[in-house]
């Protein structure tokens, strides 16, 4: 098992090297000259040249790249030009916010979509199958910013049930001491239930927004793969040996049907990381997505590079986790490992 893990980790290294190169090049070919941007509207060619020199942009590309890699090795992702803050520090404070939001959304959608998909498959053609189809279609056809705004309008503006959709905590609560960076966990660890409640009530609407979006692929995939497994030979064998319906569906069908769903889950997670950007904007969530978009608009290299790199690492880690999970569920994967 450990050897398999090591092997999978080793295959991730070339991917990461590729990501480092691509992010570096990508930010250099993006339109907009950061030197012009930071020199200000009243800049003279001389002052622009000076800014360019101070940013190190006058050097040839390979040299810039070597410096970038050298800094990376020291855990230095550079400073944001617009905020002046080190990118690492910003990412460290914002990444947990995004992760908490994305994971809650994903968890919520799993809890709804998987049982829905299973029921839709078991009772194919029944009302629950139709509900599954409607929910799935509606979920993908509504853009996240629209769902988000709609939820804010109904639950905050009209009903007044939700707190104002600004940030991770309302103005009166204090952030719990940072241990994991996830407010829900940290507040529980600190036994600060007031903060927990505040964090949760801020989290619900954006998490629901993300969940609605990711419901469709998970529910559809669960349904399709459940249907395929239910008509397979071994489920027929299980039925022919008189096993209880519950055993047939849970132990025989569901566990086999989960394999493709787990793969989908990995993809959905990466979609969500993208969809996050808009949701964070709508709910003024201090996450990594909104940070990256602002930096991109400002032609601010360092945060964009840092963002892409962080996402890549996250994605590699996620895929690794999925591979490991796959190996746990499916003995056939373990052999090739």
């Amino acid at each position: 098992m450990l050897a398999t893990l090591g092997k999978r980790l080793a295959t991730a290294i070339p991917t990461l090297i590729g990501v480092v190169i691509v992010t570096f090049l990508l930010t250099r070919v993006l339109p907009g000259d950061p030197a012009v941007y930071f020199a200000g509207p009243a800049a003279t060619p001389q002052s622009i040249a000076e800014v360019r020199k101070s940013l190190g942009l006058d050097r040839p590309l390979p040299e810039q790249f070597l410096r970038y890699v050298g800094d990376l090795a020291h855990g230095d992702l550079g400073n944001s030009l617009s905020t002046g803050q080190p990118v690492v520090k910003e990412l460290r404070s914002r990444l947990p916010a995004s992760a908490e939001l994305t994971l809650s959304g994903l968890l919520l959608s799993l809890v709804i979509a998987v049982p829905l998909g299973v029921l839709a498959a078991v009772r194919q053609g029944s009302w629950i199958d139709h509900i599954c189809r409607i929910v799935a279609t509606a979920g993908v056809s509504l853009p996240v910013f629209f769902t988000g705004l709609l939820l804010v309008y109904i639950f905050y503006f009209v009903l007044g049930w939700a707190p104002s959709p600004v940030g991770r905590l309302d103005a009166f609560a204090t952030a719990p001491p940072s241990i994991t960076g996830f407010y829900l966990f940290d507040s529980l660890l600190a036994r600060d239930f007031e903060s927990f409640r505040a964090a949760l009530s801020q989290l619900i609407l954006p998490a629901v927004t993300l969940a609605v979006f990711s419901l469709a692929p998970i529910a559809r995939m669960t349904r399709a793969s459940m249907l395929a497994v239910l008509s397979s030979d071994f489920v027929r064998t299980a039925r022919a040996s008189g096993l209880a319906t519950r055993t047939v569906i849970v132990t025989y069908a569901f566990r086999n049907a989960m394999l493709p769903v787990i793969t989908t889950l990995g993809m959905v997670f990466s979609f969500l990381l993208g969809a996050n950007v808009l949701v964070e904007k709508v709910f003024a969530w201090p996450g990594i997505g909104s940070y990256a978009v602002e930096a991109l608009i400002a032609s601010d290299f360092a945060p964009v590079q840092g963002f892409v790199l962080a996402m890549a690492i996250l994605y590699v880690a996620l895929n690794l986790a999925i591979d490991v999970l796959y190996g746990v569920i499916d003995p056939r994967v373990r052999v090739d490992g």
């Binding site: 050897a3 030979d233 071994f234 022919a240 040996s241 008189g242 096993l243 086999n256 003995p331 052999v335």
Partner: protein, 577 residues
């Protein structure tokens, strides 16, 4: 866990049949309306009796048994008739009762044993599931009972195999596990649905012998569903013959084979390959004039078309350490890293000769055919084709060479080897478009039609897709595709394994006719000596990667020189004729 439903007292004085099916009609709701798959079927089965239901695909033999167990898919339903088991009306029984009966009183064995087992659950656990469901044992004793079951079906090292997953076992082994699963709760009736299709003859014999022994030991009744008359005759007391959803004949197995009454039964008997029967005699009487057998015996003096010398193919063993981890760990690897699938074989094929390559699965015959086809590279040895050592040409390059046209293949599974999105004409044209020298749509189409004519495929079927064709028609498309480039050597990899006997007879005859008219050489790969000898002048018998015997097929059938060949021959079940 539910209390087991009481089973009505069996054999209360008067002899009640164990299973009685009266006037059974099963309907399927399909897109094109209701289809009656089984119509007014009657038969009954006494306690301890073994009954065979024989018929070709689509005859409704499986559907009948699924209906009896009430495990039809959602589209199917019993429209009419009655099924009673020990006097209990199975059609009216509530689902909970049926669930108790399944596995405990009536169990079933399916074809394709590997797919019939849950791929991600240990086989021991799967047997336990059935035992626990029917309250045969408590949780603590379940594992022991499961191991005992594995032992009864003669699985070596049962304690170890308890933890195996289906993919780690061979097909024959998986079928033993399925049998263990079916017999675990000591049912009274066992329904075996083509239990040995896809297994080679020796494994088939082992599985069938085991099945008969276990059921006899327990005084069980058995229904054997099969398309193989030989199998039915060898193992069953009584035979029911079904055609197109109806029972056409039902009699004791001695009687039915000696005096078949219904024309369909006679047709089936006729088409079954058996000792002493020529290829032409398999066809129904009066279908075309029996062509004179080709008088020209293969010219042995001439240079052979293909000569294989000391051919060896090693495969890396599964789970062998990769190169990377070998660098990390320098300790010697205890087991050899490779598996020798083909172990130094030498043989030749003459021009216009048909050579059979026979052996059990895993003996290396498929690897050999892939090597000759230049689909994979050999580890060592030479393959000389028409004077040129094609073994020197890497498989990767061979695909683009003009020589590729001269060696073609007909694949085992006619369905899976056709692109589902290509019409029959497009499939046949594929090699012409890739390697042929015909240009222009009309010329290619004309050639396709010519080929279709040669293989007896009606021209109006050329624009159909594979799913719209029958098994025999798909086999014809596969053959037309293989001969499209006028090859010198065609490798036939069990081309009739998936076909019904009557279709098999026609396809085998077609292959013979094509060989006679086009002057090709065949390498016929199969596990069934009885089929191979119909088509082949010479037979090569392989075992564990080595050739154990080769010679004229007549001689090998009559006086095999090695024990292994004798074993292969003895394993083929024959109707008592």
């Amino acid at each position: 866990m539910r209390a087991p439903t009481p089973i009505p007292e069996q054999d209360a004085g008067h002899a009640l049949p164990l299973l009685d099916i009266r006037d059974l009609t099963v309907e399927f709701a399909t897109r094109r309306g209701t289809v009656r798959a089984v119509r007014h079927v009657n038969f009954s089965l006494a306690k301890g009796e073994t009954l065979a239901i024989v018929g070709e695909s689509g005859s409704g033999k499986s559907v009948t048994s699924y209906a009896a167990m009430r495990i039809l898919d959602r589209a199917g339903r019993i429209a009419e008739g009655a099924v009673s088991f020990s006097g209990l009306d199975l059609r009216a029984a509530p689902e909970a009762t049926m669930r108790d009966l399944r596995g405990r009183e009536i169990s079933m064995i399916f074809q394709n044993p590997r797919a019939a087992l849950n791929p991600i659950r240990k086989i021991g656990k799967q047997i336990e599931d059935a035992l626990l469901q029917h309250a045969q044992v408590d949780r603590a004793a379940a594992a022991g009972k499961a191991v005992a079951m594995l032992e009864q079906v003669r699985i070596a090292r049962p304690r170890e195999r308890y933890h195996a997953y289906p993919f780690e076992l061979s097909g024959g082994m998986c079928q033993r596990v399925v049998i263990a699963l079916a017999l675990a709760c000591r049912p009274q009736l066992l329904i075996a649905d083509e239990p040995t299709t896809g297994l080679d003859v020796t494994t088939q014999k082992a599985v069938m012998d085991l099945l008969v022994e276990l059921t006899r030991e327990r005084g069980m009744s058995t229904i054997l569903i099969t398309h193989d008359l030989g199998l039915a005759a060898a193992y069953c007391d009584r035979v029911v013959v079904m055609e197109k959803g109806e029972v056409v004949e039902s009699a004791g197995s001695e009687t039915i084979f000696r005096h078949p009454e219904h024309p369909y039964t006679r047709k089936l008997m006729h088409a079954t390959p058996r000792p002493g029967v020529t290829l032409r005699a398999l066809l129904p009487e009066g279908s075309g004039e029996p062509r004179p057998a080709p008088a020209s015996a293969p010219d042995v003096d001439r240079q052979p078309l293909l000569t294989v010398e000391n051919l060896v193919k090693d495969y890396p063993r599964q789970g062998a350490r990769g190169a990377l981890s070998k660098l990390w760990r320098s300790e010697p690897v205890p087991e050899s890293d490779s598996f020798r699938a083909v172990d130094g074989i030498s043989f030749s094929i003459g021009r216009g000769e048909s050579v059979g390559l026979v052996g059990e699965s895993g003996c290396g015959k498929s690897t050999t055919s892939s090597l000759l086809m230049r689909l994979i590279d050999q580890t060592s040895g030479s393959i000389v084709f028409d004077g040129e050592n094609i073994g020197d040409i890497p498989a990767r390059r061979f695909a683009k060479m003009p020589l590729r046209r001269r060696i073609q293949m007909v694949f085992q599974d006619a369905t899976d080897s056709l692109n589902p999105r290509y019409t029959a004409a497009r499939a046949i044209a594929d090699p012409i478009l890739r390697l042929g020298n015909l240009s222009g749509r009309d010329a290619v189409r004309a050639r396709c039609e010519e080929l279709a004519g040669q293989v007896g495929l009606p021209l109006d079927l050329l624009d159909r897709f594979p799913h719209q064709l029958s098994g025999g028609q798909k086999a014809r498309v596969g053959i037309a595709r293989a001969i499209a480039l006028k090859p010198d050597l065609v490798i036939l990899d069990e081309p009739t394994a998936a076909l019904d006997v009557s279709v098999q007879a026609v396809v085998l005859n077609l292959l013979q006719d094509l060989k006679d008219s086009l002057g090709m050489s065949y390498l016929f790969v199969s596990h069934d000596l009885n089929v191979v000898r119909l088509l082949c002048d010479r037979v090569i018998v392989m075992q564990a990667g080595k050739i154990v015997e080769q010679g004229p097929s007549k001689r090998i059938m009559v006086s095999p020189a090695t024990d292994y060949t004798r074993e292969l021959l003895a394993a083929i079940p024959h109707p008592p004729l």
